[in-house]
């Protein structure tokens, strides 16, 4: 447990340079308190995905420090990284479910880190585990699809299964990398509503990359903006006026939502 008062996540001077020389992140610092819904914005290629992947160590940062839940995590290895990931679930733009497995089995993979390897190889799950997983499918409104293979679900349904899998991990922090970028506007809202529900009702802190400012204004409690790998803005969503918008997205940019 972290001492009360200290933030859930604290990132100091984080940087990532890919082996091909691309500086995807430079000197990024910010912190997130428990219960926040933090949205990360920025142009395509500004480093949003890299930032989230550095946090759960799908990508190894080049320099900087990350504190998460009272623990330094940027240099952890092996089993310790996996225990961090268990507490820091992730959902993806392309959903990243296993297409040939059922929705329920996909949700059950959320607890792999707590299972002995031999048991997971045999695919054994107790009935309590199954019921718990089903509860999360109910929470995102698709319990009736539990037995359906994920490649037969629509994009919106798949993203809801992905949210259920993430929630079944019982995470402290949920990372969402452009969760609605491949969905239509109506479906986008319903998926975002489930993320807000997880945030408000289950008390899960959320960091979410988004493209559309209209969504940012509706869901974010706080916003950070990246530009060419650097943090250029930090504040409340309503503080992003036209001037800030053009600083983040460039002079030429037009936002459909700004009037």
């Amino acid at each position: 447990m972290s001492a009360s008062g200290s933030p859930l996540l604290n990132v100091r001077s984080l940087g990532k340079t890919y082996p091909n020389g691309t500086k995807a992140l430079s000197d990024v610092s910010f912190s997130v308190d428990a219960g926040e819904f933090l949205v990360v914005i920025g142009l395509s290629g500004s480093g949003k995905t890299t930032l989230l992947r550095c946090l759960n160590r799908l990508v190894d940062p080049s320099y900087g420090e990350i504190d998460f839940a009272g623990r330094r995590i940027e240099t952890l290895q092996g089993a310790e990284v996996r225990s961090v990931r268990q507490d820091m679930a992730m959902i993806f733009q392309q959903f990243n479910l296993v297409p040939r497995l059922s929705a329920l089995t996909n949700v059950l993979t959320g607890q792999l880190a707590h299972q002995p390897t031999w048991k997971s190889l045999l695919g054994l799950h107790s009935s309590t585990e199954r019921e718990a997983a089903l509860e999360f499918l109910k929470l995102v409104g698709i319990a009736d699809k539990a037995r359906v293979r994920c490649d037969q679900l629509s994009g919106g349904q798949q993203q809801r299964v992905a949210i259920a899998r993430a929630l079944y991990q019982k995470p402290k922090l949920l990372l969402a990398d452009e969760p609605v970028a491949s969905l239509d506007p109506a479906t986008s809202h319903s998926v975002m509503d489930y993320l807000r529900k997880a945030n408000r009702e289950l008390g899960i802190t959320v960091i979410c990359n988004l493209h559309y400012l209209s969504l940012v204004r509706e869901y974010a409690t706080r916003v950070i903006a990246l530009k060419e790998g650097r943090l250029v803005f930090e504040g409340r969503p309503e503080e992003i006026d036209r001037a800030w918008f053009q600083r983040i997205y460039g002079e030429e940019a037009r936002d459909v939502g700004i009037q």
Binding site: R85, L97, T117, L121, A162, R165
Partner: protein, 354 residues
Amino acid sequence: MSASSERWPLRKLIFDTLFFAYGVALFADALGAMGVSAFHFTQDDFIQNFSHYATFSLLLTGVMAIVALVANLRGWTTPGDALFASPLRKLELSARPWSRSPWLWQVVIVFTLTIVVSVRVTESSIGDLLDADGLQGAWRLWSGLSQPNFNLLPRALALAAETIFIAFLSTVLAIPAAFFLAFFAAKNLMQGPLALAVYAVLRALLNLSRSIEPLIWALIFTVWVGVGPFAGMLALTVHSIASLIKYYSEIIESVSDGPIDGIRSTGANAIQTVWYAVVPQIVLPYIAMTVYRWDTNVRMATVIGLVGGGGIGTLLIQYQGQALWPEVGCIVLVIAVIVWLMDTASAYVREALK
């Protein structure tokens, strides 16, 4: 020396040297074939005066190395250019019409010369093909084959069954080894210095064992365990392991990364990630390729039988040796039917699994 910023085009020079040397040698041989006595090369001459030929070849290669170097310095386009040039140069080359590409003409000339020399070396002759005695012999053989002796059918069927079981067991025995090793032969899973070293060694071993034909393996095993179906089965097992690893690892390499990221992000370990994110994507293609391999093994088992690997091939070689054409006809018929059946069945299974 070329002072350009390009890397010294060593591969291009080596290729051009060999290409030119080969071309000149072919030209000399073609002249000989057309009656110029100074260039009348024969196999016997080559074998008896090998040291002369070797010396001359080395000299020729040396001279052509100089020619290739000059061509490079002068910027003449050669076949080596077309293969190994920098992307920019390739673009420049492809912009020319084909009839104005010197390297293409060089390739065409060498290709034509190769045909001329091949005709000489293979002793191809229309006369032999239409020889009266020969035609009569072929007719005798054909009429024998087309009147199969069905008294042999029971034996042919029994040995055909043997062939199918040889093929089946060798496939099944190869599966576990190939399944396990394929993960280490898949580049997308083998990241990091140690893993890449394992990958490289395994790939090298695989290429080596696949370059040894099953026929050679059969010869090895007939000496080891004696002539018979067991030797044939072992030969096919070794070959099947190597080719199944290749098929399997290619399937693993085509797996999509999304589910792997998804499972890894839950905190799963490496074994769990492979089991949950990779395996479900590969089972069906694996089954399809394995069935295909069984089908291939049936055809190979027939051939291996010819060198003592058991099954219907052994029967075929016995009767062929005694020129008993009606019996051979019966055996060939059984082989054809079985190969056709296996082929159809395996195509059907693969279609169904798509």
